[in-house]
């Protein structure tokens, strides 16, 4: 994938500093991170609405901004389509007038033709005379996309495009947005703080925190190989724990945690192996932890690696799943507040194993489910 967009931004405002460098190719680059991490500010810099103090923005070989060369193209000259959070449709203009707003420089017939083409392409046929307040959330999204795309921009920016919508509609429109984005062969930068949205829509994910990039890479890498403990926390990964390395080889890592020996997978190349004796962070997803049935054969070390035992101290009902908080039998301070591990199980397992009555359990963690984080 060739790089089409190069971004370097340095911007200091009272109480906040933005300092980021990243690149993106064709397809969708997602800026993911907690609110207040500088994602929207980055979009505004890309669009030319905000003037950074230093840095450089190059899109398809054209320099949009270069602080040292004194180049700062105004938003009107950047050919960048912007879909605002909440869509920012002009409330006093009809759908057709909104779509044609960016075409005012074109001759009348050209403008009419392109507006009609966009109405056709986005299936807005019955709505052209309506006003934004008469549209549903999904229709507003389509008009906002159409208005930005009608100018045939060189890049599309989307700020939390789905956050204004209700949950069930959100899923439908996520699919719709994905198909529209893949249809236009231009780089798109999308801001979100929703992990599912980032994973579904992004070809590449750039993780922001406090005005810096913490990780940038293909979406799969992000979810399965977070670059650090802080990225894992931003991603909302649970059971992030700290242990000591006893042995480390390409075949696996042996950890000491809460007085237990744990076998873990070695990180994939080219991440270096942690040094024996060092402290590392690792995680085990709650859904990867296994309770061992009491009516089956006793656990054997070949099939059940990382065997632990403990008591349930609390649980929470999430409808389709239950989350159980377990404290190990091993004496000592619990790893996460008043518990050691969080386990997620389907509702039917909770019922069949009669967990409400039976509070003491053995559990195992497959060695492939323990991920050691680079330090």
């Amino acid at each position: 994938m060739s790089q089409r967009l190069e971004v370097g931004l340095r911007l200091q405002v009272p109480g906040f500093a933005l300092d980021v460098d990243w690149t993106a190719g064709e397809g969708v680059a997602v800026l993911f991170g907690p609110s207040g991490s500088g994602k929207t500010l980055t979009l505004q810099c890309l669009a030319g609405l905000v003037h950074p103090q230093a840095g450089r923005i190059v899109l398809d070989g054209q320099v949009l901004f270069d602080a040292t060369a004194g180049i700062h193209l105004p938003p009107q000259q950047r050919r960048v389509g912007y879909v605002f959070q909440g869509y920012a449709l002009f409330p006093h203009l009809s759908v057709a007038e909104n779509l044609a707003f960016g075409l005012h420089g074109a001759p009348r017939t050209e403008r009419a033709r392109r507006t009609a083409a966009m109405i056709e392409r986005l299936g807005l046929g019955q709505l052209e005379r309506r006003y934004p307040r008469e549209l549903s959330g999904g229709q507003k999204q389509r008009v906002a996309l159409g208005r930005a795309l009608a100018t045939e921009p060189a890049m599309l920016l989307l700020d939390e495009p789905l956050s204004a919508l209700d949950m069930p509609l959100r899923r439908t429109l996520r699919d719709e947005l994905r198909s529209i984005l893949s249809e236009w062969k231009i780089p798109a930068v999308l801001v979100t703080h929703d992990l599912a949205e980032a994973y579904q829509l992004g070809d590449r994910v750039i993780v922001y925190e406090q005005g810096s990039v913490r990780q940038a890479g293909p979406r799969g890498e992000l979810l399965w190989r977070p670059a650090s403990e802080s990225v894992a926390r931003i991603l909302g990964i649970r059971n992030i724990l700290r242990g000591r390395v006893l042995e480390a080889s390409p075949q696996g890592i042996r950890l000491l945690w809460r007085g237990q020996r744990l076998e873990a997978m070695a990180p994939p190349e080219p991440t270096p192996l942690p040094a024996p004796g060092s402290d590392v962070a690792f995680f085990a997803r709650p859904e990867d932890l296994r309770l061992i049935r009491k009516d089956g054969p006793p656990p054997d070390p070949v099939h059940h690696t990382n065997l632990l035992s403990g008591s349930l101290i609390r649980e929470a009902d999430f409808g389709a799943t239950w989350t159980l908080l377990v404290r190990l039998d091993e004496p000592g301070a619990p790893a996460q507040g008043d518990y050691d591990l969080e386990i997620e199980i389907p509702r039917f397992v909770y019922d069949t194993l009669r967990i409400r009555q039976d509070r003491h359990w053995q559990l195992s963690i497959h060695f492939r489910s323990i991920h050691v984080l680079p330090s």
Binding site: F84, F90, H104, A148
Partner: protein, 221 residues
């Protein structure tokens, strides 16, 4: 109706219309600038514009004489060049009324412009419109009701102006005597019938203005 009353109504209408037009020309760009542009000495400009709202009208009127009177800073050179002065003319009354009503327009219009979502203006910029085009196509149409309400209030305030007008334009029947000044004269000379008639007319007009301004204020853009 006596000819004095008829002439006062005519002068008042003329004064209030001209004052409103003056305020629209000066006050709307000022309101836009205060709402949207980074301005040096923004608070000083704000202070100056708001001052007539707080100062006794006679003090504002006095400053206007110092500025525009026949021996004023601006008035003296003007008189030297043209032999003409705004003092004791209905133009003076219009200027006094405009200065007194300006804060109402600037404050109302500024609030209306500030209430326009900035993302709408940003959207217009990314769609290729200049700031000037954006103001005309987006900001002002969306702030229209607030601006209209401001103009209506300005007209009403100009119609009722007394103190500053008296200072700069005097109370010359048939030339500068507006309705409020005519009421004052009528009460002084015991013509209570005329006073009651004019006071009643102004009250009805004010009620109408408040009603219109409120309607504009609550109507969706």
């Amino acid at each position: 109706m006596s000819p004095e009353i008829l002439s006062a109504i005519g002068i008042s209408a003329r004064v209030a219309l001209v004052a409103t037009a003056l305020d629209a020309a000066v006050g709307l760009p000022l309101a836009y600038g205060l709402a949207r542009k980074p301005m040096t000495a923004k608070s000083a400009v704000e202070l100056l514009v708001t001052l007539p709202l707080v100062l006794p009208p006679t003090v504002t009127g006095y400053y206007l004489i110092v500025l525009l009177g026949r021996r004023g800073w601006v008035g003296a050179p003007l008189f030297g060049l043209t032999g003409w002065s705004v003092a004791f003319t209905w133009y003076g009354a219009a200027i006094a009324a405009a200065v007194m009503a300006l804060p109402l327009l600037v404050r109302t219009a500024r609030a209306a412009i500030e209430s326009v979502d900035r993302d709408l203006e940003r959207a217009a910029f990314t769609l290729g419109r200049s700031e000037w085009q954006t103001a005309l196509a987006v900001t002002i149409p969306l702030a229209r009701n607030g601006i209209m309400a401001g103009l209506v209030l300005t007209f009403a305030r100009a119609l009722g102006e007394f103190g500053a007008t008296l200072m700069l334009a005097g109370n010359i029947p048939g030339r500068t005597t507006t309705i409020p000044l005519a009421i004052y004269t009528a009460v002084e000379t015991g013509e209570t019938g005329d006073a009651l008639l004019l006071a009643g007319a102004l009250t009805v007009l004010s009620c109408l203005v408040i009603f219109i301004a409120n309607r504009l204020g609550t109507a969706a853009p």
